[in-house]
Amino acid sequence: MGAHAAYVWSAYAAAGLILPVMALASLLRLRGALRRQAALEADLDAMRADGDG
């Protein structure tokens, strides 16, 4: 029985690796994009504020 347990644990380890990494990658991508967007919106507003608009 013990040998089989190794297979089970490695399967769950694989799931424990693939799924969270994919979720984390997507989350980081989202955070980065939102931050870049906010920065650019700020720049443009600033430019509009002092420029003739």
Partner: protein, 246 residues
């Protein structure tokens, strides 16, 4: 078509962002709850299989992953079709961002599939298993789809090219599965590892359904994150262009 007009209401990105922001916490919570329950049921609260012993627990991962791998490809082909026919930008973005998640599920299905079969086959990769081989080919279809998006600069053209590939791929999935199945029976007429796996008795159904629910909730959550990221990235590109103009 009510579905279509309903869908159009989410058409413009800002309404989508507001809506997705509202439902995301719920889907995230649902994902965590379902995975917790699923793992408990799969690893603790369900009996080992009479014949296979503990390795049957891998089924609670393999079957949902395999199901989602196929489901996501069909979904991305449907989104692609909607984008291609009704020129719907959000559908294209959804299709594009389904693919990496689907590829992830396929990879997980391949890994868990070989781990599940290994004790019986004595090898890590048993070509004879028709289902596993079909999922390897499905993985290639995902890679092709993702790669095609990268080679186009113009997002609209990329969307239409990827849509054509997705639809051709969708037509070919049953053909590939049938051919591999036919090829498999050619080499190994009597296969102990039937496609559906051993008959599943009721005590095993619960962990399976809960895990499938967890995978679905996970998929919706991650897809919404990725779509929101893509919408923001396109906004960034538009702003950069404006900056270049101003």
């Amino acid at each position: 078509m009510t579905v279509m007009s309903g869908w159009h209401r989410f058409a413009n990105p800002t309404r989508f962002s507001r809506l997705s922001a509202r439902i995301l916490p719920w889907t995230l919570a649902l994902t965590l709850v379902l995975f917790a329950a699923g793992l408990y049921l799969a690893l603790v609260a369900s009996p080992p299989d009479a014949r296979q012993g503990e390795t049957v627990r891998i089924m609670y991962l393999h079957v949902p992953a395999a199901w989602m791998a196929l489901f996501v490809y069909v979904l991305l082909a449907v989104f692609s079709g909607m984008g291609y026919i009704w020129k719907h930008p959000l559908a294209d973005i959804a299709a594009k961002n389904c693919a990496p998640i689907g590829a992830g599920f396929t990879l997980l299905a391949l890994v868990t599939g070989s781990l599940w079969g290994a004790p019986m086959w004595g090898t890590w990769w048993e070509w004879g298993d028709a289902r596993l081989t079909s999922f390897l080919i499905l993985f290639f279809l995902y890679l092709g789809y993702i790669a095609l998006w990268q080679v186009f600069e113009d997002p609209e053209k990329a969307a239409r090219a990827a849509a054509i590939l997705a639809m051709v791929g969708l037509i070919n999935i049953p053909v590939i599965h049938f051919s591999v199945q036919w090829w498999h029976t050619l080499h190994q007429p009597a296969s102990v590892f039937r496609a559906g796996g051993p008959t599943i008795d009721s005590s095993m159904l619960w962990p399976l359904f809960v895990m499938l629910g967890a995978f679905k909730a996970y998929f919706v959550t991650v897809l919404l994150w990725r779509i929101r990221a893509e919408v923001a990235e396109r906004r960034v590109r538009a702003l950069q262009m404006m900056q270049a103009e101003a």
